[in-house]
Symmetry: C2
Subunit: 166 residues, 2 copies
């Protein structure tokens, strides 16, 4: 049948934290995210691409800018127990999402969102998807033009609550 993009959501003040070259064995994700939860750090998206080489893998997650220092401390404290390679951080990001339904079974929905963003000359840094929500993380200074382009291309009215700001 096909899907309709019903709305556009965004979250501001987001930072990415990436762990590279972590030991690719059961329990690593569990240890990291349990430790973050114990410090009451809200984690938004978690992405792991699945590339695994020489027994190590990478994964990333996003937190609000305010929680970065706390999250980095938590991770550093884990180094005595876990093999963690590089930890990199990128601040000043925003997450833009299209919200709809049946997006998996409709080829091209994600492609269209990526195309709209690319035509604004904006680089996509992180991607996380589900059937009802496709999220792209971009630099904060491009938020407005991307939001306007998305609402325009999808025919959504800005004044009809099509936007859900985070």
């Amino acid at each position: 049948q096909g899907m309709a993009v019903r709305g556009i959501a965004y979250d501001k003040n987001i930072s990415r934290i990436s762990l590279s070259d972590v030991e690719d064995k059961p329990g690593i994700l569990s240890s990291v995210f349990t430790a973050l939860a114990e410090e009451n750090i809200d984690v938004d998206i978690i992405v792991q691409s699945g590339v695994s080489k020489n027994g190590v893998a990478d994964f990333s997650f996003s937190v609000s800018d305010d929680d970065v220092d706390k999250a980095l401390k938590v991770i550093e404290n884990l180094r005595s127990n876990l093999v963690i390679g590089d930890v990199t951080t990128e601040r000043g990001l925003v997450k833009v999402s299209i919200v709809g339904a049946g997006m998996v079974s409709t080829p091209g929905v994600a492609a269209q969102m990526f195309d709209i963003i690319a035509r604004q000359g904006v680089n996509i840094k992180m991607v996380s998807t589900s059937e009802i929500k496709i999220s792209c993380v971009i630099e904060a200074d491009h938020l407005t033009e991307v939001i306007l382009a998305l609402h325009s291309e999808y025919g959504l009215d800005a004044d009809k609550n099509a936007f859900v700001g985070g």
Copy 2:
């Protein structure tokens, strides 16, 4: 307040395709996923962690096992136009998801899922998350014990439609 895990879903016969060292500039995702859509290939999750080094980045996506060869052809045909480093494929996977609500604002929901899976000795290969769905891709031969452990830990009855099989 917190969230309740309302159900567990799974998708079988999944393969991962990863593109490593692609040029990290606007339009790459758009080109790849438009080309896949033009061949009517259903893409399920798309994940990009955001790590970018020396102007190159990685991203992965999942397709059904049946679509792998077709998808790989599409990508190879793009090499004349795009800088694509390594393309790796992993077949024989399944996606397991917990479905609920408000999962972002409840620290520890993802950690708990990761922990349940880890305690089965199962390695998590890909992760993609949203507020209402947290998905982990694992090897197919561990599906049953993971599904049983998840339903047991979350107190869901297998016979009350708590499972949604894909």
